[in-house]
């Protein structure tokens, strides 16, 4: 029994639960591409605000649309926007951070000052400024979240490169005549990858919340596209008489964010 308890303690619970939650969210979203119980945008006027039942397991909203179908499909845009934004921010951030960290000097000075400037610009103001410029929509949300992520990944890449640059194995590689590109691609990047992955997971959790917030404000995903944040905006007025219209989209956001936060913690070995 004691041995069993010891085993139990050694399990990386954060990682395990994180992987399970993230897999469930992705699986449901994947299924929703091919199958939802009802058409998520089909309004059935004589079945408005129906309580959860066998026919509509999570009830219907004020237009008679099936909440389960909408929650299932609502993940598509949020996950797509979140993933592309973080990926885009990461690629640009790693590239610029690598330039700054590897070559140092003027590159470093100029690039990091730009990063500082971007970093000091509150991300939410940046997003709303983007909305003024580009108009509301999911691409605007994507662009704003990506830009906000660039300085984050720049800093991580730069600081890792700076310390790795001085290690013996990099010096050995250089002594053997390896090119800059080879050193970066073969030695520096693989050693920075763990830190980048942890940040990507945390960034993704933040991105999901950001997309949901922007859609809730009405400047992110636009109808008829379905997203969790938008569902909350649309049903806020009927929350009192039909709590299920609010409960489940919020839970979907929460579970996704929780999953990615735990995944990040777990990867860090906490």
């Amino acid at each position: 029994m004691a041995k069993f308890m010891e085993r139990l303690k050694q399990i990386n619970w954060a990682l395990l639960i994180g992987i399970v939650l993230v897999s469930v969210v992705f699986l449901i979203t994947f299924v929703s591409i091919f199958y939802t119980p009802y058409d998520p945008i089909d309004m059935v006027i004589n079945n408005r605000l129906a309580k959860p039942s066998l026919t509509n397991p999570l009830g219907t909203d004020q237009y008679g649309r099936d909440v389960l179908s909408r929650v299932m499909i609502g993940g598509q845009i949020t996950l797509l926007v979140g993933l592309s934004a973080v990926l885009l921010g990461m690629v640009v951030g790693v590239f610029l951070g690598a330039l700054a960290g590897y070559y140092g000097g003027l590159w470093d000075e100029v690039l990091m000052r730009i990063a500082d400037g971007l970093y000091s610009f509150p991300a939410f103001l940046l997003a709303l400024l983007a909305v003024t410029l580009l108009g509301p929509g999911q691409n605007t949300a994507l662009a704003a979240i990506a830009v906000a992520n660039v300085p984050v990944f720049m800093r991580i890449t730069r600081s890792n490169f700076l310390s790795l640059r001085e290690t013996n194995f990099v010096e050995a590689a250089r002594a053997m005549g390896a090119t800059d590109f080879r050193i970066i691609a073969k030695h520096l990047l693989p050693n920075t990858l763990p830190a980048l992955l942890v940040q990507a997971s945390v960034s993704f959790a933040i991105a999901v919340l950001a997309e949901a917030s922007l859609s809730f404000l009405g400047v992110g995903t636009q109808p008829p596209d379905v997203s969790w944040g938008r569902m909350l905006k649309d049903s806020q007025a009927v929350a009192g008489i039909a709590p299920w219209t609010i409960l489940y989209p919020g839970l979907a956001i929460g579970i996704t964010v929780l999953g990615f936060n735990l995944l990040g913690d777990g990867l860090q070995g906490k």
Partner: protein, 314 residues
């Protein structure tokens, strides 16, 4: 002294950069702002007059300096949609947002510090597990969702608090003022408290491992003195740094929470300005918003320099 001078200079430079970026970005807005306001079928005479009024015929750089010198004198121009000076709109909205922000910070600290200390001292206990679960859930919950749930439970069902709106402290007194802010502040502060509690726990655990704590213990100092005089004091630097970052996040969060609770603050003004492309209003709000955030960072950095004089040497 050097530390404070450097922080102040960086505050001024950042604010300048942000105003320039904002102004520059809004210049590349496709289309003529005057036409955007009046529509393409607008009366050409009216369009001309509005262009004149907005100073759209000047070159961008002239307009920037005109605008920024106005800002220093408290003149942000006139809102296009509200036909009111932006400074008047700001003056009405700032107290709402600041009260909300301060109340939330207070709640976050009151929740996070005791919770974090308890978790650290009783590491591995049921209390600790509860704290960890609370902080994970708190970080994952969207604050606006929490806000809607709070309204429907505490305001609509139980009738303990008003479901939204803002009452000024000067017109109705302290009681109604605080009760109109309690639910939004709670919704806003829980995610912040969750992150802060995690940080408090981690910093206290880290300091409790130090040699001087062992020394303090071995010379027979009571448990609470070791904790409060040695551990908490040294951990407070980390805690304070995170609290500063949280304040920035919190000011951003007010935009969404004001929408949920229909509070007439800066966030609601900004959202309307953005949706209606009210350029003078958006510009003014970005400057004031960024200025508030940068200024609170400056204050946090200064206090940090007092708590931990070492950082002034970097």
């Amino acid at each position: 002294m050097k530390y404070y001078a450097r922080k102040t200079i960086s505050f001024v430079v950042s604010l300048f950069v942000i105003t320039a970026i904002t102004f520059g970005a809004l210049q590349i807005l496709p289309g003529d702002p005057a036409l955007l306001v009046l529509g393409t079928e607008g009366d050409p005479m009216a369009v001309e007059i509005l262009r004149e009024k907005l100073g759209l015929d000047d070159p961008p750089l002239t307009r920037y300096f005109k605008w920024i010198s106005g800002v220093f004198k408290g003149d942000f121009g006139e809102s296009i949609r509200y036909s009111t000076p932006v400074s008047v709109l700001l003056k009405n909205a700032i107290p709402v947002t600041l009260s909300l922000a301060f109340f939330s910070v207070l709640l976050a600290v009151l929740i996070a510090i005791p919770l974090g200390i308890t978790c650290a001292v009783k590491k591995g206990s049921a209390w600790d597990s509860f704290g960890l679960i609370f902080s994970q859930l708190g970080m994952a919950m969207p604050p606006f969702w929490l806000g809607i749930l709070l309204i429907n439970f505490f305001a609509v069902k139980l009738g303990l608090f008003p479901p939204g709106g803002f009452v000024s402290v000067t017109t109705t007194g302290v009681g109604p003022f605080l009760s109109s802010l309690f639910l939004p502040a709670l919704a806003l502060s829980l995610p912040r408290a969750a992150i802060l509690a995690r940080m408090v726990r981690a910093s206290i655990l880290q300091t409790l491992d130090q040699d001087y704590i062992r020394t303090a213990r071995s010379k027979g100092l009571p448990h609470y003195l070791v904790l409060y005089k040695h551990a908490l004091r040294n951990a407070s630097v980390n805690i304070f740094t995170v609290a500063g970052i949280q304040l920035t996040q919190l000011l951003a969060g007010t935009i969404v929470i004001e929408q949920v609770f229909s509070l007439p603050g800066l966030g609601q003004l900004l959202l309307n300005g953005v949706l209606q492309r009210d350029l003078p209003l958006v510009q003014g709000l970005v400057v004031v918003g960024a200025g508030l955030i940068l200024f609170s960072n400056l204050i946090f950095d200064s206090i940090l320099g007092v708590i931990d004089p070492r950082i002034r040497l970097d």
